[in-house]
């Protein structure tokens, strides 16, 4: 159907180049200004030598890249990034699936619950992160007070300062702020599944678990796919949560590639925008590869099953 209408429009005469540009203009300006120009600047910066003041001193060749790739903190930072992205995305999708099932059922007060779920999504990441910083506080945090008064722990835990807990505490916040979007995406996916498929399954005597595995999950696949890809990108690029919760910790022990990139530019002894730009280019490549690999993996499996 789409094909036919397109053919009809073409038959009525093509737009001139000028006319086309007029329509495309605003979008092109946006793309060039917001995507292309910064990307080109980023790459250009990554090949320059910069003073601590930000002044360009000359060409660096590829030395920013070699310095970045050989920096001793990098393996740790990459490991942190893997744990952070992996854990947040997997937990977010799993919790999102459960929550979406719940939200798509009819029950009293559903409207209220749906609104409540939106709140963490609607509030700015910086605000949520500051809030959790207070909740996790060693001396005055609600979490420690609660666990102490329930006698679950004997002395307070340094959720953000003790290296055993820092990453886990940050992941919990990452999941908290990512779940609403994912849940709503999946609710939409669930609503798109026709009711008669379920009816047929029930008539054939399928158990609820069978129905969920054989019907709901496969039909939800496109929604899950989009949820995972978008979360991969958002979580990888998530700056405020880690920046704020990890803000008073020394060193790079809990940094991800994104916060590490920022510290390279403005907070570390290197204080080098060129080096940081090289890190930025590296980050873009990493996320592109991650998304590409994931989609290939999913397609490959789907192809085999079909």
């Amino acid at each position: 159907m789409g094909g036919r209408s397109r053919r009809q429009r073409r038959a009525r005469g093509t737009a001139s180049v000028a006319e086309a540009l007029l329509w495309l203009g605003p979008a092109l300006v946006l793309i060039v200004g917001i995507v292309l120009y910064p990307a080109i600047t980023l790459v250009a910066t990554s090949f320059g030598t910069y003073s601590i003041t930000g002044l360009r001193k000359g060409d660096a060749g590829i030395s920013n890249y070699t310095n970045f790739l050989t920096s001793p903190d990098l393996p740790r930072v990459i490991g942190n990034t893997g744990v952070w992205v992996g854990a947040v995305v997997v937990l977010t999708v799993l919790i999102g699936l459960a929550l979406a099932q719940f939200l798509s059922k009819e029950f009293v007060g559903r409207r209220f619950v749906r609104w409540a779920v939106i709140v963490p999504w609607a509030s700015a990441l910086v605000i949520s992160s500051q809030l959790f910083k207070l909740i996790y506080d060693y001396y005055h945090g609600v979490l420690n007070q609660l666990l102490l008064s329930l006698h679950i722990i004997q002395k307070p835990i340094d959720w953000l300062g003790d290296n055993h807990f820092t990453m886990a505490s940050m992941i919990a916040v990452g999941v908290f702020v990512s779940v609403p979007f994912t849940a709503y995406l999946l609710v939409a996916g669930l609503n798109a599944i026709p009711a008669d498929v379920y009816e047929a399954a029930r008539i054939d005597g399928g158990s609820p678990w069978q129905i969920y595995r054989r019907i709901t999950l496969p039909l939800l696949r496109p929604a899950i796919l989009i949820g995972v890809v978008l979360n991969l990108i958002y979580v990888f690029n998530s700056f405020p949560v880690i920046w704020i919760l990890n803000g008073s910790n020394p060193g790079f022990g809990n940094d991800t590639l994104i916060t590490y990139m920022y510290k390279l530019a403005f907070r570390s002894a290197q204080h080098d925008v060129g080096l940081s730009a090289a890190a930025g280019v590296f980050n873009v490549l990493i996320i592109l590869i991650a998304v590409g690999v994931y989609l290939r993996l999913v397609n490959w499996r789907e192809g085999k099953e079909a």
Binding site: T41, G161, L230, N249, A265, F266, A269, I287, L295
Partner: protein, 420 residues
């Protein structure tokens, strides 16, 4: 369709990632005229406090514009973002005319700044306290004009001290440790000493202690970061938390403003190294805390040293802005301006006339007496700008239970020497 999803996703990934990066790089344009004298100057000021900074600088701008006919484009930036923004301005060529920062030597080394000979009236220069002229001088020229200063001293909670049976402030490190133990022994959440060695301002905490142990970062033009005294100092600071257990939890991960100061403001900390803005907060907001101020205890039985900090108002060489910049300094250093500003923010003067003006203020007396002999960090060496960042980022690791103070300082010394 699958293919389009994949490409859509990849494009989205690229777009979002580059937008994240772009947000680090964007900044406004400057509209300085290129021919003849400038019609406007861009002045970037650090936000010392929400209440007073904007009030003062708005009024200042009005006076300046009336006097000179040059428009003053004021931009006040939070300390946390200042470094990133100023660096971005220079990177993208939107250089300000005047920049308020806590470092200047790297800018001078890059040849970006006017020296005092070019923009500071001689009478004004003569009024600035010599210690600050010295710290603002790079390669024999005075580039870093001080805007205000602060000095640190030991604050102690007199209620906690009397509860612990201590009658006077400690004067030696042994007494300090003993007193901190006594305060900690009170229990009920009392902390002997609130020690901020987190990334915010750790170089200040370290400097205060090492100056009072006969140490320094640089002596006679040579880096002395891993000197015997400095290693002993950092070991002592580590022992306070790891061995003696008289500090708050995790000092290496505690920042000054939202960590150590807030413990003291809540009456939980026996001692903290503070400065006049903390005093201001205690006198107006946290009036329940009874406190007193004393000179720092010393580790080497020498006279106490006062650690001081000054920030800078540096000016950038741009075509046609020299007169406008000169007029800016002339107005800023006039007693009615600078003293109003310093008094409002609760800091200390940088001029001899300011010293005279504030000398009768009983609250400032403890600092003012030592101000002319104040001990500063080597801000006149561009390499210090990087050393400072390393200390801020990493000293917390050196004082952790598995940290190695000596190795940390050895590495730092190597970094400083390699920078030359």
């Amino acid at each position: 369709m699958k293919k389009s999803v994949r490409w859509g996703a990849i494009v989205a990934a690229a777009a979002i990632t580059s937008m994240t990066l772009a947000s680090c790089g964007a900044s406004g344009g400057s509209t300085t005229a290129k021919s003849g004298d400038v019609k406007s100057i861009k002045v970037v000021i650090a936000e010392y406090s929400k209440d007073h900074t904007k009030t003062f600088w708005d009024a200042f701008s009005k006076t300046y514009e009336k006097q000179t006919g040059v428009k003053l484009n004021l931009q006040i930036i939070n300390w946390n973002d200042l470094d990133q923004q100023s660096s971005t301005m220079i990177q993208t060529g939107n250089v300000p005319d005047i920049l308020n920062e806590n470092a200047y030597a790297s800018y001078a080394a890059d040849g970006l700044l006017y020296s005092a000979d070019e923009v500071l009236p001689a009478a004004t220069k003569a009024d600035i306290i010599p210690a600050f002229v010295k710290s603002g001088t790079y390669n024999g020229k005075f580039y870093g004009m001080p805007d205000l200063s602060s000095a640190r001293a030991l604050f102690y909670n007199t209620d906690l001290f009397s509860a612990a049976g201590i009658s006077k402030a400690p004067t030696t490190w042994d007494e300090f440790t003993a007193d901190a133990k006594k305060v900690t022994a009170i229990g009920n959440g009392a902390v002997g000493y609130a020690q901020p060695l987190g990334p915010e301002e750790a170089q200040a905490e370290f400097a205060i202690w090492l100056f009072n142990n006969g140490g320094d970062f640089k002596k006679n033009g040579k880096w002395t970061i891993n000197s015997k005294q400095n290693v002993a100092t950092l070991q002592y600071l580590k022992d306070l938390s790891v061995k003696d257990k008289v500090t708050q939890n995790n000092p290496g991960g505690t920042n000054r403003t939202d960590g150590a100061f807030s413990l003291f403001e809540q009456g939980k900390a026996g001692m903290v190294v503070g400065f006049s803005p903390l005093q201001g907060a205690l006198d107006t907001q946290y009036t329940g805390v009874k406190y007193a101020i004393a000179p720092m205890p010393t580790g080497d039985n020498a006279a106490p040293q006062t650690y001081g900090v000054t920030d800078y108002l540096m000016s950038f060489k741009k075509k046609g802005n020299q007169d406008a910049v000169k007029a800016f300094y002339k107005l800023y250093y006039s007693p009615s301006q600078i003293n109003t500003w310093i008094k409002a923010e609760g800091f200390l003067p940088v001029t001899t006339s300011g010293l005279a003006k504030f000398k009768d203020d009983p609250k400032l007396k403890v600092y003012l007496d030592t101000l002319p002999n104040i001990h500063l960090t080597p801000t006149d060496d561009p390499e210090w700008d990087k050393i400072k960042l390393t200390i801020q980022q990493n000293i917390g690791l050196a004082v952790a239970p598995n940290g190695d103070p000596k190795k940390f300082l050895d590495d730092l010394q190597a970094q400083a020497e390699a920078g030359k």
